[in-house]
């Protein structure tokens, strides 16, 4: 087993389900912001693209587009989508 996949390392075009949202760079309020923006355990999320300079990334969740820096995205761990499971 490798360590669990985090959102910053999810390849462009792929979808996963959020397993847990950690505290990005120790700032609890940023985590609250992510939660309130709908990035919750159980939410399906897809990486749409990276910005032209490689960071931040664009995500699709709950029918809208959200952009996060990779440091913030690293706090979000993922599990396979329900559809992808055998």
């Amino acid at each position: 087993m490798t360590e669990p996949l985090t959102l910053d390392r999810l390849p462009v075009g792929e979808s996963r389900v959020v397993a847990a949202v950690g505290i990005p760079s120790g700032d609890r309020l940023v985590r609250c912001r992510l939660l309130e923006m709908g990035l919750l355990p159980g939410t399906e999320v897809r990486v749409v693209r990276r910005a032209p300079l490689g960071d931040p990334i664009e995500l699709r969740l709950r029918g809208y587009a959200l952009s996060l820096r990779r440091e913030e995205a690293a706090a979000v761990s993922l599990r396979p989508t329900d559809r992808a499971e055998p």
Partner: protein
């Protein structure tokens, strides 16, 4: 409550950013909209007294927010409005194409007991994407009135007004959230200390989530209760933040599942546009092109209007000079008041142009992409992607640039950007560079036989300004504005065609706010500065000059007379300036200026330049007795070249010229910038800190340049 008499009933207008909330407000309010400010913060307060189906109401447009958690000034205002005023109803504008996040906010407001009206906006867009919404289910589950609207075309607005009236008649029934046993106990404990209007459980959840935010002000009792409950939850290993947010999203997700069928063609156009607009290569080209347009517009687009304003001011001054009898009142009016009004109005073209462009970018959805594309670069110096447009605008003028920092959400990010950007070399510094370069360097001087020395010096000054700006931002971020590392949590909204009416309204709001708030300070400072440069008068000297004039008129005629009168006038100006308060201050600070290679005359120029940096040139013209000049003036250059210091050495050498330019790059030589920073930061603390740090920085850098240069023998 009777509908006919008494105060109008308060109805709030809330919603996520990018949902067309502003359009809804404009359509409902029309010309009855009133714009003001919330005390202490730079958020516009827009209200309108309206008649909804025979009911008098006051509609209050809240800032666009994603939730009520008090993290930003905008969010705090939205919270205050509900906590303290117990509104009669709240319209929540929701993007019909992606309703989940909007419903989260709506649910949060409904928990307080405020009756809500869901305005499903852009229903046409949602329908054509294939989205269907069951309004009846939404209404039932959220205990709300629900109306589908297309605000941009005015569709559904009458129905919306009727829905507001029905909502106001509803009993206040707070929506409840379901938690596990321990969390229910936590919420109940905090609720006992809640002092606000509305359901205490809702505010308990709010306080638990908002705890620790900069913008949060709680009563000591509530603060204590929240801290205690949070500490206990942590000890028990319960993730309170996630539990509270998840409980609300659980309801929202269930409601969405029951009432919304999302269309397959959702965001199809936006996806196609983004394939180009944020493409790895094309995206950067588009970005560069858009930034160039902004830059060009600020640099040259506003010129005709600025020229027109300047000549109107000149005309008005001449008119007053001609129409009034000589005396202090005439001078006050023409040199103080009219010049001051001119100093204010002259910024309007650039402000209006910049905000028209920003409003267009924002409403179209591209402004979020600007931040997305350039964030990587800004992150390096501790800034936010949204700081780029303000910094770029700083090359043209710090006044509109400081105002443009409003697009940055976090207050700390906003302040760092605002405090650093006046170091960007604005266009008003250019005349100073031109005059000094032309004075101290020979026009034909070349480096390596290729580059003109003037061009290299100019480039060096711009490079210094950029390095200083980014360095100052990094230092401010680590010192006075220390805080958690700035983050980017940015929605990329769908692209939409902006409405001209909205653009014009937003632009006017900014211009008005500048004229009213910053304008009065600039006017007052102009008059003070004018008085410093004018008073006290040296009566005997003036009488002597008058005698010489009379004598010249008696002995000379024609061109010779004109020439002699001009010379006397220039000499009189120089003498008056030397005698004035500013002249004395200049002489007083001369010992401090000597190590920089300057003398009191340059000091007076520096004082005069507080009105605006380019005024340095005309003040030098007066102090050196050359009369009215611009930076191309050959007599002024010659006078500067021949000027000597008390020890007989030349005043202006290449080295002292460069030291002076370094001073101008870094010094906060602009009272209008200070005035607008006062306005945008809400206190005098920030402009004073800016004046302090920039002056110290400028002095030290200029000192270093001159002293090190002298040691190396470049002084001659």
């Amino acid at each position: 409550m009777s509908a006919a008499a008494g105060k109008p009933r308060t109805v709030l207008l809330a919603g996520n950013p990018n949902t067309g909330k502003t359009t809804v407000f404009n359509q409902l309010a029309g010309t009855r909209a009133r714009t003001g400010n919330y005390p202490g913060v730079t958020v516009d307060r827009r209200t309108a007294k309206l008649d909804f189906a025979g009911h008098e109401i006051e509609l209050v447009d809240l800032p666009g927010t994603y939730s009520l958690t008090a993290r930003s000034p905008e969010e705090r205002i939205a919270v205050d409005a509900i906590q303290t005023h117990a509104p009669h109803a709240c319209v929540v504008v929701v993007d019909a194409a992606a309703p989940a996040r909007g419903l989260y906010l709506a649910h949060q407001i409904a928990e307080t007991g405020t009756p809500i009206v869901l305005a499903l906006n852009m229903m046409d867009e949602a329908r054509s994407a294939g989205t269907e919404i069951d309004e009846a289910v939404l209404a039932k589950r959220l205990n709300a009135e629900v109306v589908a609207i297309v605000a941009s075309r005015g569709e559904g607005l009458v129905a919306l007004q009727q829905a507001v009236v029905r909502a106001m008649e509803r009993p206040r029934e707070p929506l409840a959230l379901a938690f596990d046993e321990a969390t229910t106990r936590d919420v109940a404990e905090v609720a006992a200390s809640v002092p606000f209007q509305g359901d205490p459980h809702a505010w308990a959840v709010w306080a638990l989530l908002s705890f620790g935010a900069d913008e949060l002000e709680l009563t000591p009792e509530l603060d204590g209760a929240v801290a205690e409950v949070r500490a206990r939850a942590e000890k028990e290993g319960r993730d309170l933040d996630a539990l509270l947010v998840e409980a609300r999203y659980a309801v929202v997700d269930e409601v969405v599942a029951q009432s919304v069928r999302s269309g397959a063609r959702h965001r199809a156009l936006t996806d196609r546009l983004d394939a180009v607009l944020v493409h790895p290569v094309l995206g950067l080209l588009v970005f560069a092109l858009v930034m160039f347009v902004i830059f060009e517009a600020l640099f040259t687009g506003a010129d005709p209007a600025i020229g027109w304003i300047e000549s109107s001011v000149g005309w008005a001054q001449e008119f007053v000079q001609g129409a009034m009898a000589e005396g202090p009142l005439r001078d006050l009016l023409s040199q103080g008041v009219i010049a001051g009004v001119g100093n204010v109005v002259v910024f309007v073209p650039q402000i209006a142009l910049l905000f028209l462009l920003i409003a267009f970018l924002e409403d179209s959805g591209y402004l979020a992409r600007v931040a997305f594309v350039i964030d990587r670069v800004m992150k390096g110096v501790g800034l936010h992607g949204k700081a780029f447009v303000p910094l770029l605008s700083g090359f043209a003028c710090a006044i509109p640039a400081v105002m443009a920092t409003r697009t940055i959400e976090s207050r700390k990010d906003r302040l760092v950007t605002m405090m650093a950007l006046p170091l960007m070399s604005c266009s008003a510094r250019l005349p100073v560079y031109v005059l000094i370069t032309a004075t101290v360097f020979a026009h034909e001087a070349r480096v390596l036989g290729l580059f003109s020395v003037g061009a290299i010096v100019l480039f060096a000054m711009y490079a210094l300004s950029v390095v200083a700006t980014l360095g100052a931002a990094a230092v401010l971020r680590r010192t006075v504005l220390r805080g958690p590392r700035p983050t980017l949590v940015l929605e990329l909204p769908p692209y939409r065609m902006p409405l001209l009416g909205n653009l014009v309204r937003q632009t006017w709001t900014r211009v008005r706010s500048f004229l009213v708030d910053a304008g009065t300070i600039i006017l007052a400072l102009t008059i003070v500065l004018w008085a410093l440069l004018t008073y006290p008068h040296d009566q005997p000297a003036e009488a002597a000059f008058e005698e010489r004039r009379v004598e010249a008129q008696a002995t000379l005629e024609g061109e010779a007379l004109e020439e002699e009168l001009g010379a006397i006038q220039a000499e009189a100006q120089a003498a008056a300036l030397e005698y004035s308060a500013a002249g004395r201050v200049g002489k007083g600070i001369e010992p401090a200026l000597e190590p920089l290679g300057m003398d009191w005359r340059i000091g007076v120029g520096v004082i005069g330049a507080f009105a605006a940096r380019e005024v340095f040139v005309s003040t030098l013209g007066m102090v050196f007795g050359v009369g009215e000049v611009d930076e191309e003036s050959v007599p002024l250059r010659e006078r500067l070249r021949s000027a000597v210091k008390p020890d007989g050495t030349p005043l202006m050498t290449p080295l002292s010229g460069v030291a002076l330019m370094v001073f101008f790059v870094l010094a906060a030589q602009c009272m209008s910038t200070l005035a607008v920073v006062k306005r945008e930061s809400g206190s005098w603390k920030w402009p004073l800190l800016m004046l302090g740090y920039m002056t110290v920085l400028a002095y030290l850098a200029s000192l270093l340049t001159f002293q090190v240069g002298s040691l190396l023998g470049w002084g001659t």
